[in-house]
């Protein structure tokens, strides 16, 4: 039952992404709220699994976006995998891990999107894309990372309350 919390949270994140976050641009880059949210959720110690979150968020973003549906699904799964690896290695500095996941996840999503667009016949100039879309997107995601991490930590503590010690 606890996993069902993913449904309203992801719906809210994708709605906010499409309605608000996508309109706030830095050069041509935008933040990716579902990506940052997934990274923050997967970083929480209380959370048992976040794979289904990635699939649900990816399918929903793929449904809204003109990109092929598997691009966000696979990218978000990559973010969860990254979070699980980094959480074990730098567990003493969760914010550092969060920034690392956000950075690598945004890079991964960008290059995967570029590759898929190229296969579908849309060739974009890589240097321009990196300077005008990817780097500003990374910066915006980093800015979003701290508040989103705090919100997801509170959510995780609410969903998975710590057992009372007698």
């Amino acid at each position: 039952m606890r996993n069902l919390i993913a449904v309203p949270v992801i719906l809210l994140a994708v709605t906010l992404q499409s309605a608000i976050v996508s309109r706030v641009t830095l050069l041509s880059g935008i933040a990716d709220l579902p990506l940052v949210m997934l990274a923050a959720w997967a970083m929480q110690e209380e959370v048992e699994t976040a794979w289904h979150w990635a699939i649900a968020a990816g399918v929903l973003v793929g449904f809204v976006s003109g990109l092929a549906w598997f691009v966000p699904v696979l990218s978000y799964l990559f973010v969860i995998a990254l979070a699980q690896v980094l959480q074990r290695r730098i567990w003493q500095a969760p914010l550092l891990a969060m920034f690392s996941i956000t950075f690598l996840g945004t890079l991964g999503l960008s290059f995967f999107s570029l590759a898929v667009l190229r296969f579908s016949g849309i060739t974009l100039p890589v240097v321009d894309v990196f300077g005008l879309v990817t780097l500003p997107g990374i910066l915006l995601n980093m800015l979003l990372a701290v508040p989103v991490f705090a919100v997801m930590r509170d959510l995780a503590r609410w969903v998975y309350p710590a057992p009372e010690v007698e």
Binding site: S18, G29, G66, V129, L132, V133
Partner: protein
């Protein structure tokens, strides 16, 4: 009395009245001070309460002003769209509000709040009173996704009004649009108006797209290129019109499969 009338008491009465006035002033000022001291707290409290009430009223009025300004803005947009609609009676339009943008930064799409329930179909052109916006890319019951002409995958057949020559308008990842496939012998000028040509059947002809702002010519290239400033401000899109009586031509069955 006689002495007083004679002015013999004047100096004495002056001293008396001066002393009296001084004493009365002293008492009066002390009384006023005491009165202020006793009544001020009550007045301060009532003033603060009144101030809070007025601040709340000002906030409410400011919110109303903002709401009314927003409504005026929407009404102006709608009035312009109605004017545009009456000016082009050959087309049937369906107005829709822009409710979102594509979550991917690599694509230029917007989401509108009208779908197949309102007669929207894939391929229908989308315009504003200013000019061409794009076309419907995907539809569900109550929403549709519009591919803007600024999208990197967008390709619109256009013509230059002054030069009477056909060209191709392509988008980019940054949202800039470029004219391509312009023959080298065509004399392009800044400010030339770009209209849809109707070739290919994807868009109706003579929709305004934008103006030429920069021309790139090179002797070693087959064609000229030109940067175009779209007439539509895609960052401020709020309400659009879908041309619902336009059926795009699907010529994909005619394309030979390699």
């Amino acid at each position: 009395m006689a002495l007083a009338l004679g002015g013999y008491f004047s100096s004495g009465s002056n001293v008396f009245t001066t002393s009296l006035v001084t004493v009365q002033s002293w008492f009066s000022s002390r009384f006023v001070a005491l009165q202020e001291f006793l009544t001020a707290p009550r007045d301060m409290a009532s003033l603060r309460q009144r101030n809070t009430e007025l601040e709340a009223e000002v906030s409410e009025l400011q919110a109303q002003v903002i709401q009314l300004q927003q409504e005026v803005g929407e009404t102006e947009i709608l009035a312009a769209l109605v004017d545009f609609q009456t000016g082009s009676p050959e087309n049937t339009y369906r107005a829709a509000a822009v409710i979102g943008r594509d979550p991917s930064p690599f694509l230029q799409y917007v989401i509108i709040n009208r779908g197949s329930n309102d007669g929207i179909q894939r391929g229908m052109p989308v315009v504003t009173n200013q000019g061409l916006v794009g076309r419907v890319d995907a539809v569900i019951a109550d929403a549709a996704r519009i591919q803007l002409i600024t999208d990197p995958a967008s390709n619109v057949n256009v013509r230059l009004q002054n030069a009477e020559v056909d060209a191709s308008l392509v988008g980019s990842v940054t949202g800039d649009v470029t004219l391509d496939l312009i023959p080298q012998d065509v004399d392009l000028e800044r400010g030339d108006l770009v209209l849809t040509s109707g070739l290919g059947g994807g868009y109706p002809p003579d929709l305004i797209v934008g103006q030429v702002v920069n021309i790139r010519t090179s002797d070693i290239d087959l064609f000229q290129q030109a940067a175009v400033q779209p007439v539509v401000d895609f960052n401020q899109l709020q309400i659009v019109l879908v041309i619902v009586n336009f059926k795009p031509v699907d010529f994909s069955p005619l394309i030979p499969i390699p």
